[in-house]
Symmetry: C2
Amino acid sequence: MLPTAAIRFPQPGQLKVLFFDVNETLLDMSKLKKAVVTAFGDKSAFRQWFGLLLQYLLVDTVTERYHEFGVIANAALDMTAAKLETKPLKAVQKQKILALMTQLPAHPDVAQGLEMLREAGYRLVAFTNSTKFVLDQQLQYAGIMGYFEQGLSVDVLRRYKPQRSTYHEVARHLGVMPEQAALIAAHGWDIAGAQAAGLFTGFIARPGQELYPLAGPPTYHGKTLVEVARQMIG
Amino acid sequence: MLPTAAIRFPQPGQLKVLFFDVNETLLDMSKLKKAVVTAFGDKSAFRQWFGLLLQYLLVDTVTERYHEFGVIANAALDMTAAKLETKPLKAVQKQKILALMTQLPAHPDVAQGLEMLREAGYRLVAFTNSTKFVLDQQLQYAGIMGYFEQGLSVDVLRRYKPQRSTYHEVARHLGVMPEQAALIAAHGWDIAGAQAAGLFTGFIARPGQELYPLAGPPTYHGKTLVEVARQMIG
């Protein structure tokens, strides 16, 4: 059980801006997952690859380096081959897989959830570790661009989520204090980072996603964005 | 191919201290791997678990938190269950698995490699993300404690490898400059961190281990510690 007693809720009217993580949180990556599993012939290959991608953007962060998300994603495909003790994929195979990042549908609950939150008066902002270029293509393809006041990428900061200062910078950019903002994400590491930065949080428990047990509980917690939206609107 | 042209070698006599990563680098984790795979009934479970462990100690680092390695290892077992969409392990199962961390044999090449390097006049230091308490038990069990001048843990710094300052602190503790030290490890992230901190590096390509393609090449590179030691002694 989560220690519910420790959950911190905003005062009425306190919460102004909602930041949305994009990959897995809003977008269904099944198509990409299938392509990675097929390319490596191993059912754990997608989790392995995406795990390495997240691990090495953190390595870059703590070693004070920066490479674009897609560049690390490409390198992580080679690292996945080494982990699985199989041959690396050919460049053209890797390109085909990475191109799928911009051709992902939204989860079925996303449009309704965004609509509810927009109508409730929140400012909605997409905020991703992908580049701005990829983000715009993603929101366009998924047909959800119109819900957002704007789309923001870490690429201008050259410092990934979940580094605390990254969340602080985007809150400042939007003209709000961290405690006037919430991050909605399907990733435990993103929730942990936003919490450490003083934001409220909403965790969408997509299948195979998990909270970090050593971080505090999220403010809101549901299986879909609609569930989380209902809690936020109250 | 690695860009060999970019490899930086020490001048004769420059290199004084060799830091050794412990888990996977010196110790064979097969026993632990088998236990995790059996407990979850999934052949990818060990890679998944160890990947999450490494990912979340990085999350702690960038969110300016600290939990002991064993505490994160325990949490990562729960996260692995969520990732695999299976039931969490019972507390007693987790304890049994984690206890194996201190009952791992050294890889067969390790004693010979350490002997060669000690005879060549290097100061040998074990340097791990595990606690000092666990480290001492590990070196004792594996019968390799006698090779080391000392064993150091990140726990006194409360800041994990591969954060740059972590390597700097241990070099200072040993009374050497970063460029008088080398890190020997089987992990791409550890090599990348030591490089970023200005140390020389030796990568042991244990099966399923990989370099980070976006970091520079290591100074030394072999399949066993004996191979790496031969290169260092020249």
